[in-house]
Assembly symmetry: C2
Homo-oligomer: 304 residues x 2
């Protein structure tokens, strides 16, 4: 971002996930290319070597955020070869998931329009086929990210050839040979929150993830995967809290800790990928100390 860091008017957040988390040169190059676009501001860059994945959080005006995303995807397509990519997190594309989030003076319908424009441009300009998910999905069965990505690149390379219903929304039908396909969407803010466990047993992490996720009558809006972190010699419950208005990071943490305790293992630490809203800080503290009356106007700086 070269012109001004103080953004005026509507602000959209974009949180692209790239399939590079070991080679920091690649991660930095992608971030720099996003950052070189006018009127975007990078808020956070997170790279995980075990996931072999990075999450870049940036904001911008509606026009600039699309330019930032295109620049990031262009760099990812140039630098990442999925045929050689190994990581414990599922992925379909070099630029894997690209959600747009309304942050200020913008609504979901605007993000939906932008996501569809972006998905079309990624195919038109970079020849990477795209799927639309979340609020921007064109088909009901593509609303949920995991229903689009399935087991990822290797599986989908063959599936798109056999099963017409799996074909991309823009481009294809074949995936890009090295960059796969990108999944572009619009969604409300979510919190990417991982809890690392004092165990190396992937089966246990998967069992806990199962108990935590909404699908299996766990926590509302929580998606969870059990993953192995070789670099940290431990396993992880990797979560997306998609209803942070209902489930705070503390509640998600406690549920994991509780399920872990049943299996005789402890929590090591947790990780926040990207950012979380202020309300989740408030909710976590309220939940953690049973302080029902805790609201924003009990915080000195917010009250003065």
């Amino acid at each position: 971002m070269t012109v001004t860091r103080e953004l005026k008017g509507p602000i959209i957040e974009c949180v692209p996930n790239f399939s590079a988390g070991k080679d920091m040169h690649i991660v930095r190059t992608i971030a720099n290319e996003i950052d070189s676009v006018s009127n975007v501001k990078i808020l956070d860059v997170n790279a995980d070597p075990d996931h072999n994945r990075s999450v870049i959080t940036f904001v911008g005006t509606p026009t600039s955020v699309i330019e930032g995303a295109i620049s990031g995807v262009r760099a990812a397509v140039r630098l990442i070869d999925l045929r050689k990519h190994k990581g414990v997190h599922p992925r379909l594309g070099a630029a894997d998931v690209i959600p747009l989030v309304p942050i200020r003076d913008a609504d979901m319908s605007e993000c939906v329009g932008l996501a569809r424009k972006l998905a079309k441009r990624i195919w038109d300009e970079l020849e990477v086929p795209t799927y639309l998910y979340g609020e921007a999905a064109l088909r009901m069965d593509r609303k949920r990210l995991e229903k689009v990505r399935l087991k990822g690149f290797e599986q989908m390379m063959t599936l798109v050839k056999k099963d017409k219903s799996r074909r991309p929304d823009f481009g294809g039908p074949a995936l890009h040979p090295t960059a796969g396909a990108s999944i572009v969407g619009a969604r409300p803010p979510l919190i990417a929150f991982n809890v690392n466990l004092n165990s190396g047993d992937l089966a246990l992490a998967r069992k806990i993830a199962e108990a935590v996720r909404e699908k299996n009558s766990g926590l509302v809006g929580v998606k969870a995967l059990g993953l192995e972190l070789k670099s940290k010699r431990c396993v992880q419950v990797s979560m997306n809290i998609t209803r942070p208005d209902i489930v705070s990071p503390f509640v998600a943490y406690s549920k994991v800790a509780e399920e872990a305790e049943k299996l005789g293992i402890d929590v090591l630490e947790s990780e926040l990928i990207g950012l979380m809203p202020l309300s989740s800080l408030l909710d976590s503290t309220r939940d953690a100390v049973k302080l029902e009356s805790l609201t924003m106007d009990r915080i000195i700086e917010l009250k003065i």
Copy 2:
């Protein structure tokens, strides 16, 4: 406050504690008299019937904050008769403790000067003797509030007659017959934080308070009392966290919960009296979910 709610320039916080918490007419009258002063802003009013005590948090410019405090004390002297006052929280005055806290563009030395001015005026204008404590103390042995207040009004009424070293800094030697004495001071921000326990046994609450407080190798900067809340049919560990930079509300809560568990009792809920700083919200969440990397710039609203 009649003129403007947007305060410019230096801001001082004043958190007077008044010995009225059952009769809401008295609490409201005191708050209204403070609020009628120009350039002060009331942030919070908390009244507790068991403590029979209220805590009013307000901010103002250096000049106006003193006028606000004087107005509050004047009303308290008029409306409260300590001879008839019963409550579980220790108290020496109708207006008991009056701390000044630097909040914005002001430092401790300014608050010390203001506290001494205020203490003199309370004696000169309202004939209530005053002690100075905290950073504003004139004697080393009056730095700690509890060393000044001892067991409170009834005990001090006789002590000041017998023991010269107990005499007020301004006025006296006798205390005011109905309003006792006020303890004026300057201090850094603190968090008044109480944890209510699922028990009616005051001895247990006192035992937990003992284990928690700094004095007995508990938590740094934590003062704690065991109190009985008849209206809630439970007991309470009432704490001041005087080093919120070191001990978060979550850490204090956890220590109480841990000590309570040893005694076979549970935590019911916690209470925040007045306000807490944003950093304590962050620290509590960080501590509660073991998220070492949580800093202010991981919070969306603070980062944009």
